[in-house]
């Protein structure tokens, strides 16, 4: 994985730029100390690291605008950072970049239950949005696994999803408005606390643009009344094909669970060893959650049970209490950590059409054997969003490169089967060089033209999403 060489002129100008930044934010909101900068050298894709030139932690939109004006004038690249939980290197800086962190922008600005909206600063964590609404009986639906830590601004940048988006959609479906600062410091409002705008759907562009079009500082989010209750069911199967067919049959029967999670044998075993959740040792395990009043839940689970029974499951385990529900979810929620006990891992995020599941799982197994690296599969089966976890040893020379090559093969497979490279983690640097697998040169040129409109000098997170050779001219200022 390559990153552009830092611009020596910017590095030479560092002291002046840092001094100017200190003029526009609180005294302790600029970090330029080499030791302290190490905290910002990577995000959750820790395989790639580089400390930035400086970190700025503004508290208001106006401060963000002032920072952007300074960077724009000095031609300094800016990497926006929510909470640094990106699994794709979305917040990975270069040596000549300023990291603009949203960590101090966490306020709830407005809550309106009649309009069913909440307005928050973009550094607020995902889970704390729902926490702010708990007493009112509402919640914010997208729930990425990192929701305790990840920021709404990062969720918007990566169009984050989560386990429950089969029913409630991903970030783009739950974002009503935003305030953003463009590369030149101009503040722009899109949408608002109402259903929809009447111009171009610019918010659709911002969602998933990985901090390349502007710095989102405030978001207006759709909020939803909390359901009366929710309860999961666990289904165990002796083959992935059968589990996949069962998912398809449930959806065809008109039942729309809030979540359908899938784990394969390597992940089941790791999770069981790690959590003692009591999972059966089997080839494929589904966790299906439904919502509603107790009688409604009973009714839906009975329908699912009847469908599952036709597929000869090894076990059907229905939760009868909150404790049992927590037990069923325990292994799934700890799956990444459990796999991390086996070794270092790389988490992929390809998405495939649901009916391609069996074929894709079979081929991943073959690839795993060919490369000699263990792959566990845990994913959102209702929407085809796979999360293959490749286990490797970071201390063994060549293992990371082997892991990257296997990951690339798996993602190519996803695209070949009619899917995409990334469902909810984003392209970042991780999938950047594979974009040509999914898109034609014209497709990518059209996307880069969008960036030209929002960020003509390519200062915002410039080394991400687009393969470096394609964006070289634009980054050098000669499109």
């Amino acid at each position: 994985m390559d990153m552009p060489r830092p611009d020596p002129a910017i590095l030479a100008d560092r002291a002046r730029i840092v001094a100017r930044l200190r003029d526009v934010v609180a005294p302790d909101a600029v970090i330029a100390d080499d030791i302290a900068l190490r905290a910002y050298e990577c995000d959750a894709l820790a395989a790639y690291r580089c400390p930035p030139m400086a970190v700025v932690l503004p508290s208001t939109t106006d401060e963000v605008a002032a920072v952007m004006r300074i960077c724009h004038e000095a031609g300094v690249p800016v990497v926006a950072r929510g909470a640094g939980t990106s699994l794709a290197g979305g917040a990975l800086p270069t040596r000549d970049a300023v990291v603009l962190g949203l960590a101090r922008m966490t306020a709830v600005l407005d809550t309106n239950l009649t309009d069913r909206v909440i307005r928050v600063q973009a550094g607020r964590t995902n889970l704390s949005v729902s926490a702010a609404l708990a007493d009112d009986g509402f919640f914010y639906a997208p729930d990425p696994s990192s929701q305790l830590a990840c920021a709404i601004g990062g969720n918007i940048a990566m169009n984050s999803g989560g386990a429950h988006c089969l029913k409630y959609g991903v970030t783009t479906n739950n974002l009503l408005g935003l305030r953003m600062v463009l590369a030149d410091g101009e503040i722009v409002d899109l949408g608002g606390a109402y259903a929809e705008g009447d111009g171009f759907d610019l918010m659709a562009l911002i969602c998933g643009s990985e901090g390349q079009l502007g710095i989102v500082t405030e978001a207006v989010l759709r909020i939803i009344p909390r359901p009366e209750g929710a309860r999961p069911m666990l289904l165990a199967f002796d083959s992935s094909e059968v589990a996949g067919a069962c998912v398809s049959d449930i959806i065809r029967a008109g039942v729309l669970p809030v979540a359908i999670e899938f784990m394969d044998r390597p992940v089941i075993r790791a999770a069981e060893a790690f959590t003692r959740a009591g999972y059966p040792d089997c080839e494929a395990l589904l966790i299906i959650e439904v919502e509603g009043a107790p009688a409604e839940i009973d009714d839906q689970l009975a329908r699912i049970k009847a469908i599952a029974a036709a597929h000869n499951p090894l076990e059907i385990r229905e939760s009868g209490s909150d404790t049992q529900s927590a037990q069923i979810w325990l292994g799934r929620k700890s799956a990444f950590g459990a796999m991390g006990q086996i070794g270092d891992y790389m988490c992929l995020d390809g998405t495939i059409p649901v009916n391609a599941l069996p074929a894709v799982l079979r081929r991943i197994g073959e690839l795993s054997d060919e490369y000699g690296l263990l792959v566990g599969n845990v994913f959102h089966a209702g929407d085809g969003n796979m999360h293959p976890l490749i286990i490797y040893d970071a201390n063994r020379p060549g293992d990371l490169e082997k892991c990257e090559a296997l990951g690339a093969d798996i993602l190519r497979l996803c695209v070949d089967m009619g899917g995409c490279l990334t469902g909810e983690h984003g392209v970042g640097v991780e999938k950047r060089d594979l974009m040509g697998v999914q898109f034609s040169p014209d497709d990518l040129e059209a996307q880069m033209q969008v960036k030209d409109v929002f960020d003509p000098h390519w200062l915002l997170n410039p080394a991400k999403v687009f393969p470096l050779p394609l964006s070289a001219g634009r980054r050098a200022g000669t499109p």
């Binding site: 109402y194 259903a195 984003g426 392209v427 034609s440 929002f454 999403v465």
Partner: protein, 365 residues
């Protein structure tokens, strides 16, 4: 009229045009004024390319009649959940509503309040831009953050950035049962309160509308039979202050709300106003209108006004926007203005995707 039969013909027609092109599907809801040039119809691009009920996915070409799509879905017990409206009667037009027209207009009906708009169900698209370049964006899977979401950008863009040739949609199961709770005699303010309270309750209301002329308030619940019965009972109890509520089991009573049918035969201009439900009652209280129908729990209001009344100007500044969807007075714009920053971004996109300004240009361009 130019009617390409394939995506490559469509691309050639756009690349080779010397005049503005007025893009249309079935021509059932064209808004605004057309100037000189040729009509470019997508009606020749027909057919369902892929329909996978088990994956809740449908891919079809832009000119496919909406009726054909809806029939194919109904045969599998599924539907377009955002409830695309049919404005032909309202606008006095005929023609065949198409998939592409629905996408270009981001056409969504009453269920938008619960499940989202047309744009929320678009998974991917193939587009021919104003230079004749074919662009693919998104795909046919439920979650996708691979590159910028150009497909969703096209939804509601009214063909001004490119012509959609093919689109992939998420579809949903059609419910086993539908029940509407109806109250009569509530005034506007009480009706808005009742709808807000219904939508804040955990009973999954999928429609909340109020017609001022008849004093009718409607709340829709859908799903499996037993669940609908339970939730309707719980909701009626929750809203007992606003009752009595009677139950109606005919799903089709929502068509009139969806299509703006209340104003179809009536003289006057028709406006569609999107605003905050918490503000809309006060906004409309003194407005120069003859009749109102609230939808989306008050997030949308259809207004019938005397011809030539500039309702947008009368309402002044508010969070949201007003669109005049029927009316002859050319001094009143169909759409309201954007802020300076947004307008600059929009014209920047136009300059990239349609540098010659040949796709549905504004009269002022």
């Amino acid at each position: 009229m130019i009617t390409p039969r394939s995506e490559s013909d469509l691309a050639a027609a756009i690349a080779g045009t010397k005049t503005p092109l007025w893009v249309q599907g079935g021509g059932t809801r064209a808004l605004g004024t057309r100037g000189a040039g040729a009509v470019l119809s997508t009606a020749g691009l027909q057919g369902i390319v892929l329909y996978d009920p088990g994956a809740l996915t449908l891919v079809a070409r832009a000119g496919t009649p909406l009726a054909e799509i809806e029939a194919a879905l109904a045969a599998e017990g599924q539907r377009l959940a955002f409830e695309p409206p049919d404005w032909r009667a309202l606008l006095g037009r005929d023609g065949v509503p198409t998939l592409g027209g629905m996408i270009a207009a981001n056409a969504s009906g009453p269920r938008r309040v619960a499940v989202g708009a047309c744009r929320d169900f678009v998974l991917g698209a193939r587009i021919v831009d104003g230079t004749g370049r074919v662009i693919q964006s998104g795909g046919r899977v439920m979650k996708n953050v691979t590159g910028y979401d150009l497909a969703r950008l096209m939804v509601g863009a009214r063909g001004r950035l490119g012509v959609i040739s093919e689109v992939a949609l998420k579809v949903l199961p059609a419910p086993e049962a539908t029940l509407t709770l109806i109250a009569t005699g509530l005034d506007q303010s009480r009706a808005l309160d009742a709808m807000a309270r219904a939508l804040a309750a955990p009973y999954e209301v999928t429609g909340a509308a109020h017609r001022v002329a008849t004093g009718t308030t409607m709340l829709r619940i859908e799903g499996f039979g037993a669940s609908v019965t339970y939730r309707a009972g719980a909701l009626a109890a929750h809203l007992a202050d606003f009752g009595p509520w009677r139950a109606d089991h005919d799903p089709d009573i929502w068509r009139d709300i969806r299509d703006g049918a209340a104003f179809a035969g009536q003289a006057g201009d028709v406006w569609r106003i999107v605003a905050r439900p918490s503000a809309i009652g006060a906004m409309m209280a003194g407005a120069p209108v003859d009749d109102l129908v609230y939808d989306w729990g008050g997030g949308l209001v259809w207004a019938l006004a005397a011809p030539g009344v500039d309702l947008r100007a009368a309402l002044g500044g508010f969070e949201g926007h007003a669109t005049r969807i029927r009316g002859a007075d050319t001094a009143i714009a169909t759409f309201g203005p954007q802020s300076a920053g947004v307008a600059r971004l929009e014209s920047g996109l136009r300059a990239r995707f349609d540098p010659r300004g040949v796709l549905n240009p504004d009269p002022v361009e």
